[in-house]
Symmetry: D3
Subunit: 318 residues, 6 copies
């Protein structure tokens, strides 16, 4: 039996086996008995799956949140790709690793390699000329490496997958650097703002493969306040950090949503803060638009109505 | 010559001398020369003053922001009280104290005695049963006693005078305690929220007799962020402070403006937070209304149009 | 067989009989036949019920809106309490009263006793010192005693049960009295405003045990206009009622929603009107929040998303 | 000496005498003494006037709000028409009537004759077929004839002159009748709504030649509430008035501002209410636009920026 | 077998045959097999239909968007009219025309005859006195006769049926003419604006019997821009068309939504533009209200909650 | 006598002569006569000027909008730079050119050389690979070269000087190109959108050295509609221009304000449209912020309150 293809390389009528993360499971009654519906992820996407026979036996073999090994056939069902599963069991890591199982292959992830993105982040920090900002960045990034590599950028709206936060920061940094030069803004400060503006998300969210949830502090204080505290505490440990630089950097954190309506208690008052808020909104928005276009399954030139954006989107005549 | 009466006890045609704070000064040309217009304060209010003779000599005798000794006559001019000044000079403290000069008598102040309000604040803290909150309050209030006694509650909108912050807190505490009992809210937590919700104002504003200005951190970070950091740093120094209590108290700080539109990055999510935001708004609003009614000089049943509130206010047929 | 416990004292696996109000009934098809789903109320709450056998016979024994006697067993079903009913019939009052049936025990009601709340209301009126307001209150409250004892405060949003209007008024009066004293407002006028501000609801809604509906005048004129007319007509019958007092009291009625956006044609222009609008909003909001917290069945520290409030709410770590 | 022309027939360099209402007066200092500036009205408009000689004598001859007799010369001054006054005194009615003085000629008035408009109003009422509505209209219009003939439609925004309310009603009735027929609405009901929707203005405003002010009830209750009470009290005196007709008519009053934001506590819920709100807005808006165009003194194709409307308006290439 | 009655003349228990347009079809599983649900239209309305026997055979006999011949019985089902279909097949035009089949009888249409409305439109154009506008109207209307006769006024909100655009224009013209005379507006210009303001809809929508969809240009440019281009191109071909008249007419097109929030890039700046925007809104709104009242199936005086209008509507006690 | 320095190189106490554009002139009375106040421009800025002697003679020597030659001394007056003028006359071009007069030196201009910016624009167009877009750009830019070189980007808000439109386009193109590459957008299309999105401004505004005014079409149709027509007319003349490309480009024009509230009748529905709207807003906003910071004359770290932006701005401790 062959290995099943990646979810984003789906073709119907493939048969084989593969490793996935189970992120949903539901027993549903049918006219003649019941059926087991599942949602499975790999690094490249998410897919529905259905198991019809021997349900009671297989249903006890795994839980939501666990990695599983399945045997299945791929089909199109009601215009959606689907797996018809015949065997399923939870992964036994020591043994399955020998067959090529790797956790990171089974968790919805940013399209680029995390290691590559991490090196790019480190290079970015090295290019910061201001020594205080560079020390601060190294310290905060060093302290949170594990999280910064893995965390999504948001629970659902955009970049909601493993490595999404890192991907979002790097794309923003790319755009922000150009704009800083175009408008003679303080590039070091702006890059620091890009890298730290939502550092509070590391405390706002709790992330596990399969999804993110809000923490108590996340719900009650929010990532702007949490990030502000974290940055202040770190700066307090760096001797000689200029007070006006600290104030401007903290301003970038509190103002990065752009307006009070969007949750910034103080609105941009420096050139860098205006740029940061726009670059953040741009990256978020374009990511949403791209995803809506890519995920739309219709054959029209336009997507279905996008509720959050309040419009249809042009896909072109591909 | 007699002592001039307090500004809020103004009667026309009094002659005498008195001590005031000069908060405004302007040379204005007239048809036959020029005139020196001044704004003077004492603890009870603010008044316009005019000096017509010997202008060049007197104009050099004092600056804006200084305490002055004047000799004057009180008159009504265009429906407003005014002093016609004949002599003016800056106060010479060592010598003038012998004549009864006291700084606090010359600075626009809350109607109640600051010492009395301070004792009330201390009693409030003593009544807090939760030991961690009581320690926190004692520490923060002890550390900032000088400021907390003197600071205004805002630059212009409400309680914008010496002791205004303290007056605002105490009135809010009075109302909040009743409401806490009516709705079985956590009274200790709510009182702590009342006393600490705008502790960040101490860093947001720079106050000197005569007026308050925004600091750099005040403009760039704002009192919600500054207060949050201050409370967190203090709690970090109190061993055993329960984490959920910390989170709820910080929530009171970030949510106390009630909505994102009004500058709270997170909106109320606990009963105490809903109460705090409303009590804060109530005290602010009633103070504004009372002041507008008291300061309106017209003889109608209604005040003139109040621009910020967008309406006229009923004064009654007094 | 034993008496079933009150709905708010539900425990699973109780068997017995009881009296309830039927507020919903629906035949639903199943794989092997059909099932009868019901919603039942008693004074303490509402619960789902299910009848599986002998459906055709029992379905004819009662209608929506009738009091019923059931025999049932209590179970947990999909995280919700439920009755599995084996017998059901409409109540026969003369006979069932002998077994302890009382209408008021079977209608969703305020937690406090209506008689006790009514005495509290009367005491409140007696404490009003202004003779004209006291006469007015006695007349209006006397004229509408039956309704004022029973009516809910709203159709769905808050205090939507028997005695809810009375409960809402008393809680508001408690808070308003404190605030009146704190801000030297006219306490008599404010209490009159609290007791009369939504007197128009008695014409806006039509209430019967089980729920309230809007009347024609309720839909076309609304409780602000209806209350205004009712108060004016009553004042017209009280000789010597001061005209400015009438005007201020009517202002409390028209302005009590606080803003035009919320349906007040005139916004608060007296100190008492500002207080009344805020106390009304406070009581409404806290009631909503408390109910959302109490009714949330999840095991998290936070409730599920509350659509009307647009947020999750903190329940604490109970 | 000849009679001065009407204000709307102004030509420069006319000399003569005339009767006017003085609606403004101010002594203003100049380089060589002082000058008396006045605002004068006749039925057709308002104009500035200036008196330079013998000021002290003439200034005592009249007050704001009085009718005056002037002798003057007309001039253009800074692109505005103006009277240079040489004599002015208050009117002595018995004697000046002999010279042709009539109050109504000196008060800013609707362009059409009030008597003619009044007859049109009576004819409108006679055409109402529903007997209850016709009785109601006759009673309310009969009771308030004097006011309804004279009152302006608003204090400042539109139709702010003698007879303006009547002019506004008639124009609305004209348009509303067509629309009622086009959409098969209840024409009688709609005409009654047109004639009564702002009957409360008679209690909201206090009008005297020269201007209108808000009454206590106007400020505290507003014309929607006042009109509602007045209509209900009158209907109570008409036996057999159908209850659903009363309810629909009162709905027209409370909903005629169209939205809650504009001050209607209930929004339109009948076809007639939608039409009434739009016809009211249309007449108000077109009147504003026409006046802005007519009063603009520039020579451009467009008016100056109109602050309330937030735009410039096209005047055309006249 | 008899002919089935028109949909708007539905009575239960009629049996017969008829021609309809099929606008929806869905196979739905049931407990014992499956059922075929359909939506059918004729000129007067839309109705649900159900086929239970011989499903596989009949399901292949027709598709969505085709005209069909059915044999059926009419019944009430869950408070809704419905056809129980026993035979169904697609129309064979040559043959069925002999039995009386006509396409226009089977497409949801305006209540008035299209030929009659078209003659009314032509008469309207003939009454335009301005020669340039008349030429322009004749040219544009002549060029688009087929579409203008058939097109709906919108995809869903109002007049969403065959001939709806024409019906909308004529009703607007009727009302606009009266208003133009009442306010001395330029009637020719206003009528031209009524007839051309949404001419861009002909390119914005693609209409086929059964429904309208947005075109690429409709989604990306919108009918305001498309109409503007079309009018400009046509005017370019009319020699001597006055430039200020062109500018005013184009202004009517771009401003006819009344505000920027509603999609007009420029807001009304001429009297005619204010009138056009209001007449358009009036016709749209009244059409929506009438339809909601007519289609409401409940027995109350009020309709169910109307989501788009955010209110219930009064139907009266019919 | 020496040449006066450029306005942006102002130093006090310089004496000399120079050429300027007069953009304002006003006779103002003083205590002892009158004074002539002027506003003068050169390419680098604008400055106030005052003439005290021989006013009647000099006042006739020039008008607003004319180039003038002055002799003056530079001074600081009330914290503002100023010229004290002793001689002034209008420029006599043939003769003054011999002394070095050039119009372009006397008109407020973009900081960069127009010739240089123009070459950059041409290079941009050359880099467009899509042949249809390149032809379109060359045609439109060629047809409007004179205007595109000179026009400001707006009347007052941003880039309101000679060459401002060109400067705005180039800066936007620089940023947009980076973003296009970062998000794999269609760079050719985006650059075409940048260069053409406000081509309608050439018809919306009428520009003359000294300022811009709105044309009739500008006020009645607006630059979005005008640009749309212009682009469509030009595309109609290019054979084979792909229809979907035309539609997408026109979409960029109508949607470039980003939201309907800001005047776009259709909101962005392509990735390029989202980017264009944000880049336009970014350049506009940063230009506003930079100008506010540069023009603020205070010595604080923060500017005065910026009314349009609703905040103070951080200048830093320069």
């Amino acid at each position: 039996m062959r290995r099943l293809p990646r979810i984003d390389e789906f073709t119907p009528d493939a048969e084989g086996w593969g490793y996935f993360l189970c992120v949903g499971k539901e027993l549903r009654p049918t006219r003649n008995g019941q059926i087991l519906l599942m949602s499975l992820q790999d690094a490249s996407g998410q897919i529905g799956a259905k198991l019809a026979d021997d349900i009671e036996r297989f249903n006890n073999e795994f839980e939501i949140g666990e990695f599983v090994r399945i045997e299945a056939r791929s089909v199109w069902f009601q215009d959606q790709p689907q797996f018809l599963v015949t065997h399923i069991r939870r992964v036994n890591p020591p043994q399955d690793r020998l067959q090529g199982f790797r956790e990171e292959d089974c968790v919805l992830s940013a399209p680029r390699s995390i290691d590559e993105m991490w090196r790019e982040l480190q290079a970015l920090v090295e290019r910061v000329r201001d020594p205080h900002l560079r020390v601060l960045l190294n310290r905060l990034i060093g302290d949170h490496e594990l999280q910064l590599r893995e965390w999504p950028a948001a629970q659902t709206i955009h970049h909601a997958y493993r490595g999404g936060l890192l991907e979002h920061k790097l794309k923003m940094a790319d755009v922000a650097a150009t704009i800083a030069r175009a408008y003679e803004a303080n590039e070091d400060l702006l890059i620091a703002g890009v890298l730290l503006h939502d550092i509070g998300k590391l405390q706002e969210l709790h992330y596990e493969p399969g999804g993110a949830t809000y923490t108590r502090d996340g719900n009650l204080i929010g990532h702007i306040g949490l990030g502000l505290i974290l940055v202040r505490e770190t700066i307090n440990g760096i001797s000689g950090f200029p007070d006006d630089l600290r104030s401007q950097l903290e301003h970038l954190i509190v103002s990065h949503h752009g307006t009070r309506e969007h949750g910034s208690p103080v609105e941009p008052r420096t050139v860098e803060a205006f740029i940061l808020a726009m670059v953040d909104e741009l990256d978020t928005r374009i990511h949403q638009v791209r995803r809506a276009i890519n995920e739309d399954v219709g054959s029209d030139e336009f997507t279905a109505w996008h509720k959050r954006l309040g419009r249809v989107l042009y896909k072109g005549s591909r």
